[in-house]
Amino acid sequence: MKVMPLDQLVIVLTVISISIGMWLCFFLKNNQVNQLHEQRLLILGDELAVNKLQVLIRKKGLDSYKFLSHNLSEALIIQPEINI
């Protein structure tokens, strides 16, 4: 079996090492990016949930309007936390 010359072996090992190093760097960076993304998604999700809840409260209030008793004061629920 022919042994690879030293300089070529060095090149192969260097390429493998650099490849592994590069892959590791990108893996860690991608993880970091994903984590930040997840955090931002969470924040956006929370904000969406808050808005959806406010819409739900409003809808519920409006749905509670009785056609016979005309209880509009109960149906119109003002949500002061909504900053117009």
């Binding site: 409006l62 016979l68 909504i82």
Partner: protein, 655 residues
Amino acid sequence: MKRNNILFGIFFTFIASYAYSQQTVKNIDSLLIVLNESPADTSKVTLFRKIAAHYNVVHLDSAKGFAEEGIVLAKKLNYTDGQWENLNVLGNYYERKTDYENALINYDAAMELIEAANSIKGIAVVKNNIATIHIRKGEYQKAIPLLFEALKAEEILKNENGIAQAYNNIGIVYYYMQDFDKTTDYLTKALLIQEGLGNFDGLINGYNNVGAIHIHQEKYKEAIKDYEKALSISTQIDDKINQAIELSNIGICWTKLRDFEKAEKFYNRSLALRDVIEDTNGKANSLVNMGELFIEQGEYTKAESYLKGGLDLANQYDLKKIKETAFAALSELYEGKGDLKRSNSYLKNFIQLKDSILNEDNARIIAEVETKYESEKKENEILRQRAELVEKDLEVRQKNTLIYGAFGLAILLGLLGYLVYNQQKIKNNQVKKEGELKSALVKIETQNKLQEQRLRISRDLHDNIGSQLTFIISSIDNLKYGFKDMGDKLSGKLSGISDFTSQTIYELRDTIWAMNKNNITFEDLQARISNFIDTAKIASEKTRFNFDIDSNINVAYLFTSVEGMNIYRIIQEAVNNALKYSEASEIIVKISDGENSFIISINDNGKGFDKEKIKDGNGILNMEKRGREIGANVEINSLVSNGTTVRIEIPLKDS
């Protein structure tokens, strides 16, 4: 005795570097002027050498002084190359003068300087010149190692002309050693190179020596052609020594062709020229040739005179080869004259001299030197090939390393590109996702804010206007209470206003609600209608209520809030009217699926009324107005004692 005619005094031309060579200059006068004006530096040393070399060819006596001055100046300047070059030219001078002893002294002095400076060029030049001295003296065993050393040096210098000169001289030595195959081999090699180079001096020597081979092969006419070629070139460059050689050799050819008149003419021309240039060696040779010519013609007296003249010169300068020829010729002459004693004596001398030149030791030494040279050459070739193989192997290895490196770099770049692309893709997807979420958030926030704002405005509207309307009702009630004595008409009017105002408040509330609630499902509406009917049941226990919904109806159908409200109010009005006026025992509310419409019918089995006679009251007008508002068709059909049907047809919206 017939002697061996092979050695007929053919004069080979040896090539002594820087002497019998192309060192004549075209404009010697200019060169002399430059010499006088130039400072005492190394260039002046070179000028001395060039001028001396020129005069060695064209005017021998003038050469010595210039060469000696060149040596002195070079010594003063410590210019080693200049010293040995001028010593070499001085050696050439003495050689041409046939003063071989002084020639050798100068060549040896040059060799000392050359060896100290390790000059390959010097070795090539001077060893060749020393070798020619030995050749002339018949000392071939001394000449041949020097010639091979000179050849080696010329090969190192890659000097084609020098290599040709060495081949030429080696060929001559082999000729004298009677190895004619090797002679032809080396002389042919030399001539080929010279023809390739177009070198005058080399061509002269080449043609001269090939001519000698042709003489040996008894091809005299070809030999004459060769010598004529050489003569034309040597005449062109005014090389008198070579001219004399060619003339002499042509004479030999004519002698062999038995044209003695022509032969004598050429010998005389050669002899005259040799007298002019003081070529003692050549002169001795010419004298012997003339002697041989007259032997052929049977003119022994004349022959003896020439032969003895030539022998004297040969003895004086120890020219062994010429002596050998002279001895042979004299032996033949005395044999012809019948003087056998003298003939034998000269024959003995000839044999002794020939043996001393041709002895086996000499031949062995020469063969050994050549073998050693060839072996060294082969070894060098093998080493060179090995070095080339190693170099090639290294080149291949370097190429492979380069390929590996390039491939590795390509892999790394490819991987980097992929990783960057992948990362970018992930980021793009994330940005897209976040963008979508943000967009949805902005939309919902905007809607939320708009709806909230609308709600707050509605609330304010209800609170302000509603309270004002309530105030009106309360004020009217107070008026009615305060003025108990007012007439029925006024009281009725005030009640009407109060009712109208109440109605207005209800409608305001419904409108505000519908403004804020976009849609209401059929299912939700159904539930509200059902609640209303349950309330009506409680309020009117005697009346039976039925509420039917067609099973085909899509309960998820969306009405606008205005539509839902108006449908409810129409049903409410119709049911209230039936309860109030019809005295019905059964009221059926039915919702069915029409062709692209909903059909709602409120049917009672009450007493009915004559539509012609009864004016449409507010209730009926309200129902019709509400129907128009939502694009529905409201029909009220009643027959006396046959009940009343309120039919509402609401067209479906395109989904």
